[in-house]
């Protein structure tokens, strides 16, 4: 019964994605809308991967755009220079960015807190500086002529998969370990947790998905340029993350949807858009300091509760204990 | 009129009702103690008096002045000093700086100097550690510092939240001796203690709190003989 229910659920979700893709192809849905939806999906991947570090692990990374850049560039090199299929470039992007993030982790975790923040920022700046110098990828001119491989269904599936993967990791031993580190690093260590290693794994995962998002992003715009990946991009992600609610996957989705959507809707306001946008952000933070979702999750994100099992114990509670005493 | 009067005080944290309408008073010159199990609301009571927590309902007056509408830092100026639960160190400040901050409301230099001397004679350990960061003090040393800070600012009424927590037995006795001494010098004391035994011994009067309500009151002596109190708080 449960299986049927979940199969039905996923079929509906997938069908929805295919439907939108089809409607888009035959221009029943405006390509503009499709593109904004794609951008939202990519932002969801970026923000939720950042959430792993900033939300669940409790560090303050401010250079996420660096990982996005490595993904975007590597995938572009694969498709443009080596004419590989996009899927390959996509995977390579994820792997490389994950690896780099892991390696960043090696030195990064000698320090912590705001010092770590500066290291991630520094990494971001170094990547941009390198790209600006690499003639092979066009340096400051960027790379043009990326195939238009990113379409709605790609983004849609990638987003859904990302969310499922993140959810499953977060509600597993790994996620609990990260949260424990966030809550009290020393106590976590006293639980036998190798904090440095766990943090590096978290970084690798976050970096990997940021790289995947970068690949999608590049192949959506068909053009990439180092200056798109500066700390300004990183701060955009931070804003979406904290707006939605750090420590909540639902929040990341909401933050990405709201920010991307809202700024798009306000686009016609011109200069004043960037005045009103921040005001809205500040107002939301003032009324909901933990972000819109705080650290709560929607029901469907939460795993099946342990309630049944627990119930068995609660009913006997106390008695057994006292007997043994 | 009593020095401190608490009437029908109610405090809620979200949907937890920590205080459900408690009333009591402290007369000038008394030592009054609040006894109760974990979570009874003792800390909450003290916090509300000193303005750290806001009340939902009720009335708290000090020498006739309404405290519930007064900000915490003004309440201090009325002459109420609070030694909070959990010590409340300024961890990155040295022992000396911690003590100095407690004299913020004191103008007279001579008086401050006198207080310093007195505090150091009561807690010689603190004078040995005068330039150590409070953060690195041992638990008990921090507790001494918290009490010392209260003595520095020398209010008319001192609220103490478990001053003996984490102290060595010899120091516990010492603390209670100090409390009696400053009380004799004219300071009124409202004391919350887990060590009900000792607290009741020095208390003029005492109140027993249970889940946010006062269930018993009487002189310290009376209550320490009461069977229910004995059973619940003094142990076997």
């Amino acid at each position: 019964m449960k299986i049927i229910k979940s199969i039905a659920f996923w079929t509906v979700i997938l069908a929805l994605g295919i439907l939108v893709e089809m409607l888009g192809r035959f221009e029943y849905i405006n390509p503009y809308v499709i593109q904004v939806l794609e951008l939202i999906g990519i932002n969801i991947i970026l923000v939720s991967s950042l959430n792993i570090i900033n939300g669940f692990l409790g560090e303050f990374a401010i250079g996420h755009a660096g990982f996005m850049a490595t993904g975007a560039y590597l995938s572009a090199i694969c498709t443009v220079k080596f004419h590989m299929p996009f899927a390959l470039g996509f995977l390579a992007a994820g792997l490389l960015s994950g690896l780099i993030a892991y390696l960043i982790g090696v030195p990064a975790f000698k320090t912590f807190g705001d010092y770590l923040a500066v290291i991630t920022l520094g990494f971001n700046m170094i990547i941009v500086n390198l790209l600006n110098n690499l003639e092979y990828v066009g340096a400051a001119r960027g790379m043009v002529g990326l195939p238009k491989s990113t379409n709605f269904i790609w983004v849609f599936c990638a987003t859904i998969l990302t969310l499922i993967i993140f959810r499953n990791i977060i509600f597993s031993n790994y996620g609990r370990i990260w949260t424990a580190i966030r809550e009290n690093t020393l106590a976590a260590e006293m639980m036998g947790i190798n904090v440095v290693r766990s943090k590096m794994v978290a970084f690798a995962i976050a970096g990997c998905f940021a790289g995947l998002a970068g690949a999608l992003w590049g192949h959506m715009l068909q053009y990439i340029n180092p200056s798109s990946f500066t700390y300004l991009k990183s701060t955009d992600m931070l804003t979406m993350l904290y707006l939605g609610g750090v420590g909540s996957l639902t929040g990341s989705v909401l933050g990405a949807v709201l920010m991307t959507g809202l700024l798009e809707i306000l686009r016609d306001l011109g200069v004043w858009r960037m005045v009103i946008g921040p005001v809205i952000l500040v107002l939301i933070m003032l009324t909901k300091p933990l972000g819109l979702f705080g650290s709560r999750e929607l029901k469907i994100v939460q795993p099946k509760s342990d309630r049944e099992e627990v119930q068995k114990y609660v009913s006997h509670a106390g008695r057994k204990h006292n007997n043994e005493l | 009129m009593a020095m401190l009067e608490v009437e029908g005080l109610e405090v809620t944290y979200g949907n937890i009702r920590a205080l459900r309408g408690i009333s009591f008073k402290v007369e000038k010159g008394e030592i009054v103690t609040l006894v109760g199990a974990n979570g009874a609301g003792k800390t909450t009571t003290l916090r509300t008096i000193s303005g750290m927590t806001s009340a939902a309902k009720g009335k708290v007056t000090f020498n006739g002045k309404d405290l519930l509408k007064t900000k915490a830092h003004h309440i201090v100026r009325y002459g109420i000093t609070h030694v909070p639960e959990g010590r409340g160190m300024f961890g990155n400040l040295t022992v000396k700086e911690n003590l100095e901050l407690a004299t913020w409301t004191r103008k007279s230099k001579a008086e401050v100097k006198k207080n310093f001397e007195r505090v150091f004679s009561l807690f010689p350990r603190l004078s040995e550690r005068i330039n150590q960061k409070a953060m690195t003090l041992s638990g008990g040393e921090q507790q001494m510092l918290a009490v010392a800070r209260a003595l520095m600012s020398q209010g008319e009424l001192i609220l103490l939240d478990e001053p003996s927590m984490g102290l060595a037995p010899i120091l516990v006795k010492e603390i209670f001796r100090i409390l009696e001494e400053i009380n004799k010098e004219g300071t009124t004391i409202l004391l919350v203690e887990q060590n009900a035994h000792m607290a009741l011994k020095i208390a003029t009067r005492a109140y027993v709190l249970e889940t946010g309500t006062v269930v018993m009151e009487g002189s310290g002596q009376e209550l320490s003989k009461d069977m229910r109190v004995k059973e619940a708080y003094l142990g076997g």
């Binding site: 320090t111 990494f123 904290y242 005045v275 300091p289 | 900000k71 160190m89 100095e100 407690a102 913020w104």
Partner: protein, 292 residues
């Protein structure tokens, strides 16, 4: 030789500018643990206040400076009142993101009302050139270096030795208990922001004089650099800001002077990262011994 001395002087000037901005940054950080993203924009506002007082009121340097400091303080205090105070009990990150929002607001509001074109900052100081060991120095450079050291000393004195300074340091440890000492938290934080913003305005005007092109977005890059400088020196430490600022200035200048300048940013940040690896809590930061 004169080449080297010239570069040294260049580094001193750039370093003292970073130091100036980092001072205010680090002070607010030390008190509230807040990475005040808006600091760079108060710096920008300070420069604009200077611009307008000098142009509209035709005031000379010192009155312009004082007036701009006052205006910037007012702005800083207002921002604190409106946007940060309600978040006192909120987690630190909410505050940081709010600061980011305020930063964007200040930039774009200035852009929307005053336009995006750069403006030339009035020449409030007659600039004189000297030659020093074959290198060129200006009186302004000397002023900037001295002012940054002077302000560091003043600030250090305030924070270390005065009661308000002690109260400021106590805020980051325990806000609640501060009130129990009879100290108004609001006042302490207000003073902090007032001071920090006045420092930012001073920097804004000195930078306006040294690099006389100002625009609404001038605070972004400098703000980040100041943050980095503050962290490099050991964030929250007043003398750390000065040291961090100077070191960052040196790194940037000499990375470009001795190596290909196209890689300057990359090299500068690599050095920064290496420094943080060797001294994980900044150059002057003491390693924290956790007492548990």
């Amino acid at each position: 030789m004169s080449y080297f001395i010239q570069q040294l002087l260049n580094a001193l000037q750039l370093g003292s500018i970073y130091a100036l901005i980092a001072l205010g940054y680090t002070m607010v950080y030390g008190v509230l643990g807040l990475i005040n993203f808006a600091h760079g924009d108060i710096f920008m506002a300070g420069a604009f206040f200077g611009f307008f007082t000098a142009y509209l009121l035709k005031l000379p340097l010192i009155p312009t400076l004082i007036l701009s400091m006052l205006l910037a303080s007012a702005l800083g205090i207002m921002i604190e009142r409106i946007a940060y105070r309600p978040l006192r009990k909120a987690p630190r990150m909410s505050l940081i993101i709010t600061a980011l929002g305020i930063s964007l607001f200040l930039e774009n509001f200035t852009r929307a009302t005053l336009g995006g074109q750069p403006r030339s900052f009035p020449k409030l100081l007659e600039i004189q050139d000297f030659t020093f060991l074959g290198a060129s120095v200006t009186n302004l450079q000397v002023v900037i270096i001295l002012v940054s050291i002077f302000l560091m000393l003043v600030l250090r004195y305030i924070v270390q030795n005065t009661m308000i300074g002690k109260a400021m340091r106590a805020v980051s440890d325990n806000k609640e208990v501060l009130a129990l000492m009879g100290i108004s938290l609001d006042t302490v934080i207000m003073v902090t922001f007032g001071l920090g913003s006045a420092l930012a305005a001073t920097a804004g005007i000195l930078v306006g004089l040294a690099y006389p092109v100002i625009d609404p977005y001038m605070g972004i890059t400098v703000g980040w650099k100041a943050f980095i400088a503050a962290v490099l020196g050991g964030i929250g430490l007043i003398n750390g800001a000065l040291v961090g600022g100077f070191i960052l200035g040196f790194i940037e200048i000499f990375a470009a002077a001795l190596l290909p300048s196209t890689y300057r940013d990359g090299i500068a940040f690599t050095i920064l990262i290496i420094v943080l690896l060797l001294k994980p809590t900044g150059l002057l930061g003491r390693p924290v011994i956790k007492k548990v």
